[in-house]
């Protein structure tokens, strides 16, 4: 049974369903909305025992086999671990959303995008094919874009959405290139196959492919220097922030790294990139979080810190690192989502979530207070929460490394983790104290709009409680949930025995120390905030990003003005010069440089000499003409000599046509040339040298075009056939005419169509109504109308202008 596909389809189908039924606020609806993800969660939970025994569910659906494109799904330990988080928290969020958007007309749209996101995210972690992963990856990017800019007329939201999309798309495209390189090398895009390819880590393309994949992962997971988009994304409605930007989507990059871990983690490149980028991001995010007074921004930086932690942990191939990784993922999801949800409740109830304006919330919303405090305990790593276990394991990893082999790495990691943690402790204490317990806000306080109902708080509370007490019963499910995930990351089977209490080890003492120093940071928060404010802005990666984008825009702008803002002459000369280049290339670069004149060497007669001389004279005279009349006459001379030329060389039809057309052309030119007003600016002759250059080049071009016909002739001409068959098959002795109307009548049909179109075009251009009145406007503008005694507009003229037939 295609269970995986059905789960995805269920979620995708739920999206338009909830959009169409236009939900309203009711408890029933909240339950209904939570139902699809809850069902998928339960289904996954039921699969856990089988997965834990090493089974996997694999489903593959062909999409475009030629391109290696397929939807391949694979439910293994890692996939189900992330899948459970996605749908489990998804159910809570869906429930919460019904309260958050009470009375909002666009609630249905939010659900549409939310479910779309949920399905994409689930598909992403279930993917067993790089391209499948990419498809769902882009799905999360687009849905996240729409969610961040949910308030479409708020500039902060749309700007944040744009930055988020551009940064993640940039990474995504780089990742796609990496995927294609990797997939082409292996011959398959299937992740299991790629991971199983022997020697893939040492292939020549691996550094390039891996760097590109890293770009994708780092942008999506907000690693330095791409972390700036995540705080901007907090303009999203709170359910989206809680879900996408803390619990799930930002972990997509981490997930990708975890997926690739078995094959590539042995590389030095892998270790150092992840260790340094992740570690730096961790410290940066942790330290920055203290600076913000917006609850969501504060939490966002704390999230950046955790993402950095996760990336750093994936650098290692150590038991404790794996354990720390999985526990941190779960713990973070279970405490950060409630914190965001609580921030949303506060925002909803008070109309602001700025800590400077808040105080004493513990009295008005005690349940929220309890939730936040419990979540904060987990976040700070206070025993016996899951956060405590996560932090213990991470510090243990550093400690073990330090003890055994890698003193530098272990020490660095130990110190960095402690540093990030103590700042996070400080900022979360700040949040709780300033928001919930102190009596007076810094600035004018906000007032309670309405107290949150219990249903609103319930999802957050549920998650927090799970995260708090979950650690106590961890032995009940550690080998069910965590071990298969670790097995998938490490590539080896794992057996777990977590213990909360190890005794007073150095690690535990460090934990306590972190908590204690965290209070010091809390006490010094105002000082630290001022300190941060003094850091120059131009160092922030947001400013760097914006200036890069600005630079692209300005460059584009300058370039476009340069190429498109110019008059027609340079543009036309480009085409002409391209022709010249072709001629140069053909003649000089690739031939034996001999010119064989196939034409007989007979000396042309006097008439030819005369005609040639006259034509050249006429052409030069046209260029040199001082007045329009002389230009027309010179042009006529050229036309007539061409006619004579045709006469001389046996083309009477051509000669007649050319002559008649010459006559008509002259009439047309005269009619127009004496109407068009000369322009003062036209007298200023510029760029003579350039024009001369193009002209001479074109002269060479024309010469080459004619001569090449006489240098080489490859095959017999088809022309004699026409001479031979003209009378017998075409019933005419004038071969040219027979060709025109019979042999190649199809050409002529196209040609007269051109003429017919020209007629229609001229008709449209010359008889549109306003042409006369426009003319008068111009004259009026130039002061030519009244004093010249121009006749009043006649009725006839008026009729013309109105377009009377």
């Amino acid at each position: 049974m295609p269970a995986l596909a059905l789960c995805l389809i269920l979620l995708f189908a739920a999206a338009p369903f909830f959009w169409l039924i236009r939900p309203h606020r009711s408890l029933v609806f909240a339950w209904l909305a939570a139902l699809p993800p809850a069902a998928v969660t339960v289904w996954q939970a039921l699969q856990l025992p089988a997965i834990a025994q090493g089974n996997v569910l694999v489903e593959r659906y062909a999409w475009a086999p030629t391109l290696g494109l397929e939807i391949a799904l694979r439910l293994d330990g890692l996939a189900i671990f992330f899948g459970l988080i996605i749908t489990g928290i998804g159910a809570c969020i869906a429930f919460y959303t019904a309260y958050y958007f009470e009375g909002d007309k666009r609630q249905g749209f939010f659900y549409l995008v939310l479910y779309g996101f949920m399905a994409s995210m689930l598909g992403l972690v279930w993917a067993d094919d790089l391209l499948t992963l990419f498809v769902f990856w882009e799905g999360t990017s687009i849905t996240s874009y729409l969610l961040i800019a949910f308030k479409t007329d708020y500039k902060g939201a749309t700007d944040g959405a744009r930055r988020a999309l551009i940064v993640t798309t940039a990474g995504g495209l780089a990742m796609l290139a990496g995927m294609v390189i990797l997939g082409l090398h292996v011959g398959s895009f299937n992740i299991s196959e790629i991971l199983a390819t022997p020697g893939i880590a040492n292939a020549a393309i691996t550094p390039v492919a891996l760097s590109l994949l890293f770009l994708g992962a780092f942008t999506k997971s907000a690693q330095f220097p791409f972390q700036f988009w995540l705080p901007g994304a907090m303009a999203a409605p709170t359910p989206a922030s809680a879900y996408l930007h803390s619990a799930t989507m930002v972990k997509a990059g981490v997930f990708l790294l975890a997926r690739l871990h078995p094959a590539f983690s042995e590389l030095d490149m892998w270790f150092w990139t992840l260790f340094l980028v992740g570690g730096f991001t961790m410290v940066l995010g942790g330290v920055s979080s203290i600076r913000y007074t917006d609850m969501k921004a504060l939490l966002a930086y704390a999230t950046v810190a955790v993402l950095g932690t996760l990336v750093m942990l994936l650098a290692f191939r150590e038991k404790y690192a794996y354990e720390a990784f999985v526990v941190t993922v779960l713990a973070h999801a279970l405490y950060k989502a409630p914190l965001f949800l609580s921030a949303g409740i506060v925002d909803h109830a008070m109309g602001t979530r700025d800590l400077r304006k808040l105080a004493g919330l513990a009295r008005v919303m005690p349940v929220v207070m309890v939730t936040v405090v419990l979540a904060a305990l987990s976040m700070s790593g206070v025993i016996p929460t899951m956060g405590f276990l996560a932090k213990e394991l991470m510090l243990e990893n550093g400690y073990q490394l330090f003890e055994h082999s890698e003193q530098l790495v272990g020490g660095l990691m130990y110190v960095a983790a402690a540093l990030a943690a103590l700042f996070m402790v400080g900022s979360i204490i700040t949040l709780i104290w300033e928001g919930f317990f102190r009596q007076q806000p810094d600035e004018e306080g906000a007032h309670l709009h309405h107290a949150p109902s219990f249903g609103f708080v319930a999802p957050a509370l549920l998650l927090t409680v799970l995260g708090t007490i979950g650690a106590l019963f961890i032995s009940a499910y550690e080998n069910l949930l965590f071990a298969p995930a670790i097995a998938a990351i490490s590539g080896e089977p794992a057996e777990l025995h977590f213990k909360l209490w190890h005794g007073f080890t150095p690690v535990f003492l460090t934990s306590l120390g972190v908590l204690a120093v965290g209070f010091v940071v809390f006490a010094l928060r105002q000082l630290l905030r001022r300190g941060f404010a003094a850091v120059p802005q131009r160092l922030s990666s947001l400013v760097v990003y914006d200036s890069i984008v600005d630079a692209i825009y300005h460059f584009a702008y300058r370039l476009t003005v340069l190429i498109q803002g110019s008059p027609m002459a340079p543009q036309a000369s480009v085409t002409l010069l391209a022709g010249v280049l072709v001629a140069l290339y053909a003649i000089f670069l690739n031939t034996e440089r001999t010119i064989v004149i196939l034409d007989s060497l007979e000396i042309p007669g006097i008439s030819e000499w005369l005609i040639f001389a006259l034509a050249i004279f006429g052409a030069l005279a046209t260029v040199r003409a001082r007045s329009r009349l002389s230009a027309i006459i010179s042009l006529g001379v050229v036309g007539v000599t061409v006619t004579l030329f045709f006469v001389l060389f046996g083309a009477p039809d051509l000669a007649l046509t050319q002559l008649l057309i010459e006559v008509l052309s002259v009439i047309l030119l005269v009619l127009v040339f004496f109407r068009v007003r000369p322009d003062p600016a036209i007298e200023l002759d510029r760029r003579r040298a350039f024009r001369l250059f193009v002209a001479i080049a074109m002269g060479f071009f024309g010469f080459a075009v004619v001569m090449i016909n006489h240098v080489t002739q490859v095959g017999e001409s088809i022309s004699p056939y026409f001479l031979e068959k003209s009378y017998s098959l075409g019933k005419g002795t004038n071969v040219v005419n027979v060709i025109l109307v019979d042999f190649r009548g199809y050409d002529t049909m196209g040609e007269i169509t051109v003429l017919g179109l020209a007629a229609l075009g001229g008709y449209a251009l010359l008889r549109s109504p306003h042409i006369q009145s426009l003319r008068r406007r111009i004259d009026a503008a130039r002061g030519l109308n009244s004093q010249d005694g121009a006749p009043e507009v006649s009725a006839q003229q008026k009729a013309t202008e109105l377009g009377h037939d």
Partner: protein
């Protein structure tokens, strides 16, 4: 006065030139001539009318029929091509030959096609000649003043 002479010339010459055009058209298949040339000659004949009688008068006479004439030419050409289907293929020529007083006369779809060519050429050329002459006439007075003004501004 010149106009009167012109009209006289027009009265005599235009029909003659049009006859020449028809002559050129008819002999086109065997000797220099044909639809293009005939059409251009006919257009020149009517240009003479424009010169003699003025664009407005000519427009009233021919104006509305020029685009339909071009359309008719295209229809004739397309019909000639489609008639070929009777002979076995698109654009296949079909000839009818018969003798009148020992003179062989022949009619064929290529001639119908050539006729279409002639109509289109006339329609197209005259559209431009008429429209432009008309505009030239309408603002002739202003034009003189304009030229003068332009000359001044040049200095």
């Amino acid at each position: 006065m010149t106009e009167i002479y012109l009209r006289l010339v027009d009265k005599i010459l235009t029909p003659i030139i049009i006859l020449i055009a028809i002559f050129l058209f008819l002999r086109g298949h065997d000797l220099p001539g044909g639809g293009f040339i005939a059409g251009l000659v006919a257009a020149s004949a009517i240009e003479l009318t424009i010169l003699a009688r003025g664009a407005e008068a000519t427009r009233d006479r021919y104006g509305p029929w020029l685009i339909p004439l071009a359309g008719l030419g295209l229809v004739a050409a397309a019909t000639a091509a489609l008639l070929g289907l009777y002979g076995g293929g698109f654009f296949r020529s079909i000839w009818l030959e018969f003798y009148v007083f020992d003179d062989k006369l022949k009619f064929g779809t290529p001639q119908l096609f050539d006729l279409g060519v002639m109509f289109v050429v006339i329609g197209m050329a005259l559209t431009y000649l008429l429209r432009l002459s008309e505009a030239a006439e309408a603002t002739a007075v202003k034009q003189a003043a304009l030229e003068e003004r332009v000359e001044e501004s040049r200095l």
